[in-house]
């Protein structure tokens, strides 16, 4: 095993900040606070700049100047695609959102919000109906007797799990007798799914630690 320390100042800064954050595992301290506040500030600045260049300039300013500049003929020319002068309408709606800073004109922002909510409600509803509801109901209908015993067992477990879990969430009758047994079975299926979720969450968090330690070992210390 050999060690080759990085000569990149950026790597040293990143390594120091990583160690500052790790120091919180022992106890809260000023180095951790410094790294935390720096992260919050840098993140806010980074996303602000990114939003300006990748949303405002790319989606509005550039297309509008291109459309209204006359380089493509009419500002409504078909070859401009989605970047025609129509963008003035969302630009206006975007500006209306800032009317919330003026109490007497604040009601104007509701028009923009109405468009945002309307568009996303429409997209979400159709998307959920197609992608989740119908397709999942179709997917839950399985043959219970197949040539393969493994598939058959799997289909039975799936179907029993599906039905008993649905029973668990049926609250219009007291869970006693057969309903109680089914409900309890549904609860066990749910607990298995929570356990699987927890296991995956542990994997995700450990992955973050592995990523940081790989950075410290290989990129910073150059351990090979």
């Amino acid at each position: 095993m050999s060690v080759y320390l990085s000569h990149d100042p950026g790597v040293w800064i990143a390594a120091a900040l990583t160690l500052f954050i790790f120091s919180f595992l022992y106890k809260d301290n000023p180095l951790y606070k410094f790294a935390e506040h720096l992260f919050v500030g840098v993140s806010a600045g980074y996303y602000l700049v990114l939003s300006f260049w990748s949303v405002l300039v790319a989606n509005l300013w550039d297309p509008l100047t291109s459309a209204l500049g006359g380089a493509h003929g009419s500002p409504l020319a078909a070859r401009l695609g989605d970047y025609r002068a129509f963008l003035l309408i969302p630009a206006l709606l975007g500006l209306l959102l800032f009317s919330r800073f003026l109490p007497r004109l604040a009601w104007l922002s509701r028009w923009s919000l109405a468009v945002i909510i309307g568009v996303y409600a429409g997209l979400k509803t159709t998307g959920f109906a197609q992608g989740d509801f119908v397709a999942q109901v179709q997917g839950s209908i399985q043959p219970l007797w197949t040539a393969s015993w493994a598939t058959t067992v799997s289909a039975w477990i799936f179907t029993v799990g599906l039905l008993t879990t649905l029973v668990f969430f049926y609250f219009s009758r007291e869970h006693k007798g057969a309903l109680g047994v089914a409900s309890r079975a549904g609860m066990y299926f749910l607990m298995v799914s929570f356990g699987a979720g927890y296991g995956y969450t542990v994997m995700s968090r450990i992955s973050l630690l592995i990523g940081r330690l790989q950075f410290l070992l290989h990129t910073w210390l150059g351990v090979r």
């Binding site: 595992l25 996303y47 397709a135 997917g139 296991g199 592995i210 330690l213 790989q214």
Partner: protein, 275 residues
């Protein structure tokens, strides 16, 4: 004081220390524990392997540096497999924190594979709008992304010559950490435009993706670092995910042990209090 009582009062910093050591030591001295690719990972690999050479594949890389340890290995291996199959790769980013990171990965892999940017692959960069962008891409991708990440007019790039909308692609690869991500692609794109989708997601997201896999809405799935490592194994590579799996396995065993011991200690205390 019994051993279980002492466990119940154990300073949590000892647990942090042991976890840290269990992760650190295998990174320095690998154990090379066995790793068997799971059926969803095999399906992911096979879905890409079945794309005819020369076909266009859309890769949506929607993650930021926080998900880098899990998703970067997936993206790198996926791009390598696609370029080795001589597929034309179009990369898009719908996650705001990701464009610069993804661009760096795309250019690294392209250089290593000898792929020519603009001819073999292109990174169209980030577009704000979440589901609205997904739906717009179904109408026209050149209109939705008129310029690539570096500002070039996409209509002038050879790789984009035959790209109109989702119908131009044989496969959509969604490598995503959250919103917008794979779930939104399934809801907005798979059902509406009938394009086959495979996904690589963070471990936290993976359990919510299994219903889509079971129903056939996803053709394959990589879940977290384990999925990435199994995929690397199928590609006969030993990348960052594979190197991290020894540490991952030891940490999981330790967490399971902590859960068992914690429950025993709690049960002993409850019994004593009842008594």
């Amino acid at each position: 004081m019994s051993a279980l009582d002492r466990l119940a009062r154990l300073d949590r910093r000892w647990i942090f220390l042991v976890t840290g050591l269990l992760v650190l030591i295998p990174l320095l001295w690998p154990l090379n524990l066995p790793l068997t690719p799971a059926p969803p990972v095999r399906a992911y690999h096979d879905a890409i392997a079945s794309v005819p050479p020369g076909s266009h594949v859309l890769v949506s890389a929607d993650f930021d540096p926080a998900a880098r340890p899990e998703l970067e290995p997936m993206l790198r291996t996926t791009l390598r497999q696609l370029l080795q199959r001589r597929c034309k790769v179009v990369v898009v980013v719908l996650y705001q924190g990701g464009p610069l990171l993804v661009d760096q990965i795309v250019r690294d892999v392209a250089a290593a594979q000898g792929a020519v940017y603009g001819r073999d692959l292109v990174n169209l960069g980030f577009k704000a709008g979440n589901e609205a962008v997904m739906v717009l891409m179904g109408q026209s991708i050149p209109n939705t992304f008129p310029r690539d990440q570096s500002g070039a007019d996409v209509r002038t790039l050879p790789v984009m010559r035959d790209v109109r909308n989702y119908s131009s692609f044989r496969l959509l690869v969604s490598i995503a950490t959250g919103y917008p991500g794979t779930k939104e692609y399934v809801q907005q794109v798979q059902g509406r435009f009938h394009i086959p989708i495979v996904a690589g997601v963070t471990a936290v997201t993976a359990p919510t993706m299994y219903p889509y896999l079971q129903s056939g809405q996803l053709r394959g799935l990589l879940g977290g670092m384990a999925g990435a490592a199994e995929y690397e194994r199928l590609m006969n590579e030993r990348g960052a995910a594979s190197r991290g799996m020894d540490a991952q396995s030891l940490a999981h065993v330790f967490v399971a042990l902590c859960i068992v011991l914690g429950n025993l200690a709690q049960r002993a205390r409850a019994r004593r209090e009842e008594g």
